[in-house]
């Protein structure tokens, strides 16, 4: 069993598991941090950005963090755990010869589609007049200023996919529900479990009859909107692959939400605007819910909240229809009937307004001071670029970063000097290390496999021994482009016996409760299922026709020696020897059993747990006598 690790990013994993002749890809996250090396794509021509000195670099900016570790066309299935971890799907399913199936839950697919749609829309609506690619040449790249010259494997950076590719990739997905058992080629069974992190987010169990691998990716134990995490089903795993823990282990989400609200209120009260760069789904639902409770108490009822995204409307509406994927609290609301999320009320009362883009209705409705939620969190494309340019010069305004995926300082770099206030309140509800250690204590897997980042404290806080996975035995770690042999051997396989063959067996009880029978049969293997069938009858010689070699072998089977079982009680054995005329017998105890020494006959009898050797010099008669004596103590069948 092997694990191929294609991504070094712990929260955007991409691993391939080879297990019992199946090749299973676990997630395909897209690491977009390399976009930070590019200039923002403004919706409106920005004189400031275009007049920046030096390198004018304009290229597609979506990147695939993959190596040629594995031939993607051999991947049988892809299991997706949440919508953030499927953003690279088109790169894998398109133009690689991939012919397999992708499994994901419905909300994952729908919201994943929205995220991809938004990404494509953001990129495509600002077509580039020119694009350069010469810099990807290693010799030229070396000349570039840092950090560009230090970027790894720029040659693998790829252009953003098109909507067509997205649609084609999504068409390969098969929808699944929690706890649904999916057979893969009869060899393994995969099951998604609720992971509590996002709408439809799942952990996966991959099991055969005797082995169980759990894949935990992006899970949360906090009470937010999704269904709570299913921990019980993860018990008794041989291997637990653990990825997607919180990216900001030192920030507690509750504290950060408080910080977010306080800063928002402070800014708005002073007449400033608040910009929240965010994804169109996920934490934004929780933020809107917190604000729903907070705005009245903070006297912000008159402040408009704008949510601008090509998929804003779909995102807000989708969230309301996936009732069965929500936490219990929200599910019960549906039966009242009430919308599960309170943002419906915010929309109804006109406190929250959503627009597909800056153009159109928004420009006529726009009122300040206000709060704007818009993408993309990298500040490199999307409507957020415009608001950064618009509001960056006033110290009254505030930009509040809530998504932890990008370094906020790097994201802000092209906008410097910046007068607006910047607040960093990363909200990451995924498991922290305390929760992980509780989870592992509860679930008790035999082995834990995780990205190497989790096995040591973060480099910036090397003294924080609490910020790493602490389990026994120590977790196995992987890094990008590594192939890991998972630390357990498959020892058993389930084999079925045909009824007529089973009928012919004559079990013999060798111990109370344990019966044995010998069986001669033909092992038939097809589609990873093994069946014992009755051996073909000895074929009649058919004359000149060629006989199969197999039937040649069958007569050999018939002279099988009987099987022996039991143990030899040394004292009684010695007595038996004496009775048969052997004298001068010495017994030595060894580590594995006993040696009976017949000094007179210069013969040794080694008795061990699973073997007995009689060593005598060319006296076959003596050997046979002794053998028969030994056999008297054993059962034959």
């Amino acid at each position: 069993m092997k694990l191929y690790c294609l991504s070094g990013h712990p929260t955007l994993p991409c691993n391939v598991l080879k297990f019992k002749s199946t090749t299973i890809m676990l997630d395909c996250g897209l690491d977009m941090t390399s976009t930070l090396n590019f200039l923002p794509l403004p919706l409106v021509q920005s004189p400031r950005l275009s007049n920046l000195p030096g390198w004018s670099l304009k290229d597609g900016n979506a990147f695939l963090d993959k190596t040629e570790l594995i031939d993607l066309s051999t991947v049988d299935v892809i299991l997706i755990s949440n919508y953030h971890c499927m953003m690279a799907l088109p790169y894998i399913t398109e133009h690689t010869g991939f012919t397999g199936t992708v499994y994901a839950t419905e909300p994952t697919v729908q919201i994943g589609r929205l995220l991809m749609e938004e990404l494509v829309n953001f990129i495509e609506r600002v077509p580039k007049a020119q694009s350069a690619s010469l810099w990807k040449n290693k010799d030229i790249q070396r000349l570039l200023p840092s950090p560009l010259k230090d970027a790894v494997e720029v040659s693998t950076w790829r252009r953003c996919y098109t909507m067509q590719e997205v649609n084609s990739a999504l068409s390969k997905i098969q929808l699944v529900g929690y706890s649904q058992k999916i057979e893969l080629f009869g060899a393994v069974q995969v099951t998604p479990l609720s992971s509590g992190y996002a709408l439809g987010s799942s952990n996966w169990i991959i099991q055969s009859h005797y082995e169980k691998v759990s894949y935990v990716s992006g899970s949360s134990l906090l009470t937010t909107h999704p269904q709570p995490m299913d921990q019980a089903s993860l018990k008794n795993s041989d291997v637990l692959v653990l990825t997607g823990l919180t990216q900001i282990p030192t920030a507690n989400p509750d504290g950060m939400v408080g910080e977010f609200c306080s800063n928002l209120a402070l800014t708005v009260r002073n007449g400033g605007n608040v910009l929240v760069p965010c994804y169109p789904s996920g934490v934004i639902y929780d933020l809107l819910e917190c604000l729903y409770q907070y705005i009245d108490s903070a006297g912000l009822s008159n402040i408009p909240f704008y949510f601008i995204s090509p998929v804003a409307n779909s995102s807000l509406e989708f969230s309301q229809i996936f009732a069965e994927w929500l936490c219990h609290n929200k599910q019960t609301k549906v039966y009242l009937p009430e919308p599960p999320f309170p943002h419906a009320e915010l929309i109804q009362t006109n406190k929250l307004k959503h627009y597909p883009s800056l153009h159109g209705d928004f420009s006529s409705d726009f009122r300040q001071p206000c709060v704007v939620f818009t993408g993309h969190p990298s500040l490199r494309f999307g409507d957020v670029v415009h608001f950064m340019e618009l509001w960056g010069k006033s110290s009254l305004n505030t930009v509040i970063f809530t998504e932890p995926d990008f370094s906020y300082l790097e994201a802000l770099a092209p906008y410097q000097p910046l007068a607006m206030k910047c607040i960093y309140c990363p909200i990451d509800t995924r498991l922290n290390f305390i929760q992980v250690s509780k989870l592992l204590k509860e679930v008790q897997p035999l082995h834990v496999v995780c990205p190497e980042q989790y096995t040591q404290p973060p480099p910036a806080q090397s003294h924080r021994m609490d910020l790493m996975i602490d389990c026994q035995p120590p977790a196995m770690s992987y890094r990008r482009a590594e192939v890991l042999a998972l630390p357990f051997k498959r020892r058993y396989e389930k084999i079925e016996i045909m009824p007529e063959l089973a009928d012919s067996l004559v079990p013999m009880e060798i111990k109370p409760g344990i019966s044995l029978a010998t069986v001669s049969a033909v092992l038939h293997t097809k589609d990873n299922k093994h069946v014992l069938q009755p051996p073909p009858r000895p074929t009649q010689p058919t004359g000149g026709k060629k006989r199969k070699r197999a039937s040649d072998d069958i007569p050999d089977c018939k002279v099988l020696k009987p099987l022996l079982s039991g143990s030899i009680p040394v004292e009684q054995f010695v007595q038996a020897l004496e009775k048969h005329g052997f004298s001068d017998i010495k017994v030595e105890d060894t580590a594995k059993g006993h040696i009976v020494l017949l000094q007179e006959a210069e013969t040794l009898i080694q008795i061990e747990e699973d073997s007995t050797h009689i060593i005598c010099d060319n006296d076959e008669m003596l050997r046979v006598r002794l053998r028969d004596l030994v056999l008297k103590f054993l059962q034959k069948f």
Partner: protein, 823 residues
């Protein structure tokens, strides 16, 4: 006993004796016992029995085999004991062989009723009351009660077990009262048999291998030495101390907690601590033998002792400080700090042994910090007090908890992993840090203190309770920071801190968590109260958004926050720190005055807390002569009293009376005497005549308010009003001159109205009253009588024994038909 009760008693006894009429309520039996106790303490029990034969009948009756409830049986046992406490009554009961039948083997002791803990407890308490005289001792010996008590020490009911232990102590004390008194040299061999029996039982228990038995023996001794300081205790301790010392040699020390209690009790006993030779050595040995967790309370106890050898104190202090030493060691603090904490040469303990697991580490640190906090203000605290190392350790703990410390060693790393985010330790450490503000510290440490406090106040991860403690500690440190000579402003150091703190405060005032907003406002109020007059502070505050935000919080959805905002705004306004910016939304003077806003809250807020806060602010403003009030004081007082009198919350009405009193004192030209620091408002020259003096009070309708309050359904309000009127009457007497010569019909009509009010009909107002009428009414009222009536508790009628008996009878009688609870 009064005749009415005597008449009811037979019925009561027969009800109690009737198993078909169960007593539903335990409390009434307790009340009956209390009542009998007062009777027997006041008079002869024998007489009581003879006059009320039904009591004896009840006691005899319960002995008959029947299905009596355990409650009644327990009650009877306790009653019998109470009666037998007097020797003549004891003899009387003995004649009838009643006592042996109640308390001996033939009684409930052997029966099925004994399984009920209440019966066992009643048995013990009965004996406890009974054992008052030498005859009782003989009785106890005869009926073999002491052995039963021994076995009850291990009873499954904790109440019974503890009572059994206390009974043993009592019997021991009683038996030694006579003979051993005055003979300190008397050996235990010469003690009464009963005492000897108990002592050998204790000895046996101390030698036992079972921890529960050792614990029982230790507890008996602890109680004995704690309560009795007779010379015989010295003999007892002399005999038992070797056995106690033997316990210390076991590993682990059994019943360590009880052992600590015993040793401290011995050390506190004036007889034992002065005489016994090996006590201090035993204490020292115990300190070094016990585990750090167990030794902490002992060390604290030793340090609290008034007199104790210096060496032992030093050792105890070292033990107490061990966990903090460990923290400093593990985080490799400056060696100077370590030396002063560890200088006593105590065995150095490593983090691994002292703080092995997270739970142990957290528990021990919290206890240590709490112990030190208790010790800090005591006069007998160790001297020199290691202020600097303690500060260093506390700051380090706080930094470990917040994750900002960077320990270099492995031990420090573990400690950090244990403590990160631990709210319990944070709270304990912040409390202790606040206490440490009483002392000073080296400059750089104080800087660190302020830095760590700022870190906590800024951190979004600080929980609301931690934040509250951080605010409290901050205020205490700011208060203790040295003032610049010449002016009472904050020192430059604290100023720097304040400059960083003030940007944090607005964020806290905007927190979605109301507890945070509330503690932020409380802190602000304290700060303004202390430094509101200082130029530096005023500048910094005015430059911040704090005053504006505070005003917005007057409309907070949470009532506690509104109340705190009212208090803070009151302070801000008193100090002239309220900003009235002419913002585009509120041009010029359109902004509501604060007075109007507070009046609005007082009359409309649905919760009591903000309204109470407004009343406090108004009272303070009136006392201080606040500008908004001083302009037209009478109008202000009239408005406030009018609104307050309508309030449903009695505290608001009571505070209204407080405000009335302040106004009254100001008007009558007598500055309030009970507040020596109050700013004396400009008082007009004392008015010449009484009528002139009272006229402003009449104009603001103070009397209507006070009279209404006098008949308030809430007693505190009525009492306060009564006091106010009495004070006023005394004041009017000092004027002399024309005495209450108001027109008679007017006085009569007011008195008639007041009578109606008293009867509950407060609808009709009094209208404007002439001073003369007021004086006449005041004089005619029996205010002293009213005060006396109010001083009695409201349930005085219901508490009478007669009512109690009636209630018991009523409940029992009515039980069948009507289950209504009459309590």
């Amino acid at each position: 006993m009064d005749p009415e009760c005597s008449q009811l008693l037979p019925a009561l006894c027969s009800v109690l004796a009737d198993p078909r009429q169960p007593v539903a309520d335990d409390t009434c039996l307790e009340k009956l016992l209390d009542w009998f106790k007062t009777i027997t303490e006041a008079g002869s029990s024998l007489l009581l029995l003879q006059e009320n034969p039904c009591l004896l009948g009840l006691l005899c009756h319960v002995l008959k085999p029947q299905d009596l409830s355990p409650r009644v049986l327990s009650f009877s046992l306790r009653l019998a004991g109470m009666l037998a406490a007097q020797e003549d009554c004891f003899q009387y009961l003995q004649q009838g062989e009643l006592l042996p039948r109640l308390f001996g083997e033939a009684g409930p002791l052997g029966g099925a009723a004994w399984t009920a803990p209440s019966v066992r407890s009643g048995w013990i308490q009965g004996l406890r009351s009974l054992a008052r005289h030498p005859s009782a001792l003989c009785f106890l010996a005869d009926c073999g009660a002491v052995d039963t008590i021994f076995s009850l020490q291990g009873d499954s009911s904790l109440f019974v077990a503890s009572a059994a232990g206390q009974l043993l102590v009592h019997i021991l004390g009683l038996s030694l009262q006579g003979p051993a008194e005055g003979h300190p040299g008397l050996q235990t061999g010469d003690w009464p048999v009963c005492a000897q029996k108990i002592v050998s039982h204790i000895e046996e228990s101390l030698r036992s291998a079972a921890t529960p038995q050792i614990t029982q023996a230790l507890n008996v001794l602890t109680t004995t030495f704690g309560h009795c300081h007779d010379p015989w205790t010295q003999v007892l301790w002399g005999r038992l101390s070797p056995l106690v010392a033997c316990l210390l040699e076991k590993d682990p020390v059994p019943a360590a907690h009880s052992l600590v209690d015993l040793l401290l009790s011995v050390a506190r006993s004036p007889v034992l601590s002065s005489s016994s030779s090996g006590l201090w050595e035993t204490l020292a040995q115990t300190l070094s033998h016990l585990s750090p967790t167990q030794a902490g309370p002992l060390a604290l106890g030793i340090l609290k002792l008034q007199e104790c050898p210096q060496v032992l104190r030093a050792q105890a202090f070292a033990v107490l400080l061990q966990p903090l030493t460990c923290v400093l060691e593990a985080t490799a603090q400056a060696p100077g700090l370590l030396d002063s904490l560890d200088g006593t040469g105590g065995a150095s303990v490593t983090v691994d042994t002292l703080l092995p697991s997270k739970a142990a580490c957290v528990g021990l640190l919290c206890r240590t910090l709490a112990h030190l906090e208790l010790l800090q203000p005591l006069p007998q605290r160790p001297s020199p007090w290691p202020q600097a190392p303690l500060l260093g350790a506390t700051v380090t703990i706080l930094r470990l908890c917040s994750g900002s410390a960077t320990p270099t060693s492995d031990a420090g790393g573990h400690l950090c992993a244990f403590l990160v985010g631990c709210v319990r330790v944070q709270r304990a450490a912040l409390d202790f840090l606040g206490t440490l503000s009483q002392g000073t510290g080296p400059r750089e440490l104080v800087t660190q203190v302020f830095a760590v406090l700022l870190e906590y106040l800024t951190s979004p991860d600080s929980s609301p309770t931690v934040l509250k403690k951080a605010f409290q500690a901050t205020f205490r440190w700011l208060q203790s920071s040295p003032e610049t000579p010449g002016c009472s402003d904050l020192d430059p150091h604290a100023h720097l801190f304040l400059r960083e703190l003030l940007p944090v405060l607005p964020k806290r005032l905007c927190s979605p968590c109301w507890e945070v907003r509330d503690s932020g406002l409380e802190f602000l109020t304290q700060m303004i109260g202390r430094w509101g007059g200082q130029a530096g502070f005023r500048r910094a505050l005015l430059a911040s958004e704090v005053p504006e935000l505070t005003e917005q919080l007057l409309r907070d959805p949470e009532s506690y926050v509104r109340a705190s905002a009212v208090a803070a705004m009151g302070q801000l306004s008193s100090q002239g720190l309220r900003v009235t910016p002419a913002s585009p939304e509120h041009p010029g003077g359109q902004q509501k005055s604060l007075l109007a806003e507070l009046l609005h809250i007082l009359s409309t807020d649905s919760e009591g807390f903000p309204r109470r806060a407004v009343m406090h602010v108004f009272t303070q403003w009136l006392r201080d002569g606040h500008a908004d009030v001083a302009g037209d004081t009478e109008r202000f007082v009239a408005r406030v009293l009018q609104v307050a009198s309508q309030d449903l919350d009695w505290e608001v009405r009571a505070q209204g009376l407080e405000l009335a009193l302040v106004f009254l004192e100001q008007t009558l030209g007598r500055p309030s005497s009970h507040c020596p620091y109050a700013v004396t408002p400009p008082v007009a020259a004392p008015p010449s005549s009484l009528a002139q003096a009272l006229r402003p009070l009449c104009r603001v309708q103070l009397f209507e308010f006070a009279f209404r309050a006098l008949f308030d359904c809430d007693r505190p309000v009525a009492q306060k009003s009564c006091d106010l009127l009495l004070f006023l009457r005394a004041q009017t007497a000092s004027y002399g001159g024309p005495q209450g010569s108001g027109s008679v019909p007017e006085v009569a009509s007011v008195e008639a109205a007041l009578q109606r009010w008293q009867a509950g009909d407060q609808g009709q107002p009094l209208g404007y009253l002439e001073p003369e009428v007021v004086v006449a009414v005041l004089r005619s009222m029996d205010l002293e009588g009213l005060r006396g009536a109010l001083a009695e508790s409201s349930d005085r009628v219901e508490k009478s024994p007669q009512s109690l008996l009636q209630d018991v009878l009523a409940t029992v009688g009515a039980l069948g038909e009507d289950e209504a609870d009459c309590y």
